[in-house]
Amino acid sequence: MFEAMLDPTGGPSATATGPRLAARPARLDGLVVGLVANPKKNAEPFLDAVGELLAAEHGTADVVRTRKTSITDPIPPATLDELAQRCDVVLIGVGDCGSCSAAAVADGIAFEAAGVPAAVICTVAFRVSADAMARLQGSPGYTYVTTAHPVAPLDEAGVRERARRALPELVGLLTEAPVPVVAR
C-alpha cells in the first residue's frame, strides 16, 4: 500500500530558500476564514471552535468549510483554488498523526504560494513530520501552531479549551500582529 501511495511531497524541492508567505492583513475583522479539516477525529470541531472564537473576538465575517477525505494527501488543487478565491485567510488542521501533520504543512505552504495567509495546527508529537515536509517543500522553518498531543480523544469542552489556547498564536500567524508565547 505504501509503495503505491501518492507522494504528497511532489518530490524534492529544487531550492530551499525558506518560507515564502503571503502578505498578511493587519486585522481579521470582516474577513472570510477557510477551515480545512482533515478526516482525523476532532479536527472539524477544533477548527469550528477557532472559527467561532475568531468571529466573536476578532469580527471575522464568515467561514468556508471543507473536509479532506484523505489523511495523507494534500488538498486537491481544485479545492485549493476555490478556497483561495473565496477566503481571505485559512486555518488547516489538525495534524494529530504523522502523515496528516505533514499534509497539513504541505497545504499551508500551498495556500501561501496561492497568496492566502494560512495557519496550520499540529500536535507537538508530530513536529518531526511537519518540519520534514516543510524542508521537502523548500520552506524550512515554516511556522505552525502546536497543541498538546493527542486531540482525537478530547471531549467537546476539551476541544474548545485547546482552540481557546491556540487562538492568540493563530491570530498572530494570520496577521501582521506579533505571535505571543502562550502556555499549552
Partner: protein, 76 residues
C-alpha cells in the same frame, strides 16, 4: 555514519505516538530501517517514504539512497 541521537530519539517518539516502532541496523554501506506497527497503529498515519527518508537522512547522516526502508506493508 554519524547518527544524530537526538533526532533519532525525536523520530522514535513521533512514531510511537502513532504506535509504530523503529529498528535501525547497519548493513555494509547501507542502513536498514524497519518500521513495525503496534496494535493501535493507524496504517494511513505513517508518513510516506519520501518524507521518512528525508528525516532519516538528517538523523543518520547517510545519503537517502543508502537507506533501506522497510514499512509494515512491505513485510506482508
Amino acid at each position: 555514519m554519524s547518527i544524530d541521537e537526538n533526532a533519532l530519539s525525536g523520530l522514535r517518539s513521533t512514531l510511537e505516538a502513532d504506535d509504530y516502532r523503529m529498528a535501525v541496523t547497519e548493513t555494509g554501506d547501507n542502513v536498514e530501517v524497519t518500521i513495525t506497527a503496534g496494535p493501535a497503529a493507524c496504517e494511513d498515519c505513517l508518513v510516506p517514504k519520501p518524507i521518512m527518508r528525508n528525516i532519516l537522512h538528517a538523523a543518520l547522516g547517510v545519503p537517502e539512497d543508502s537507506i533501506v526502508l522497510v514499512y509494515p506493508a512491505d513485510a506482508s
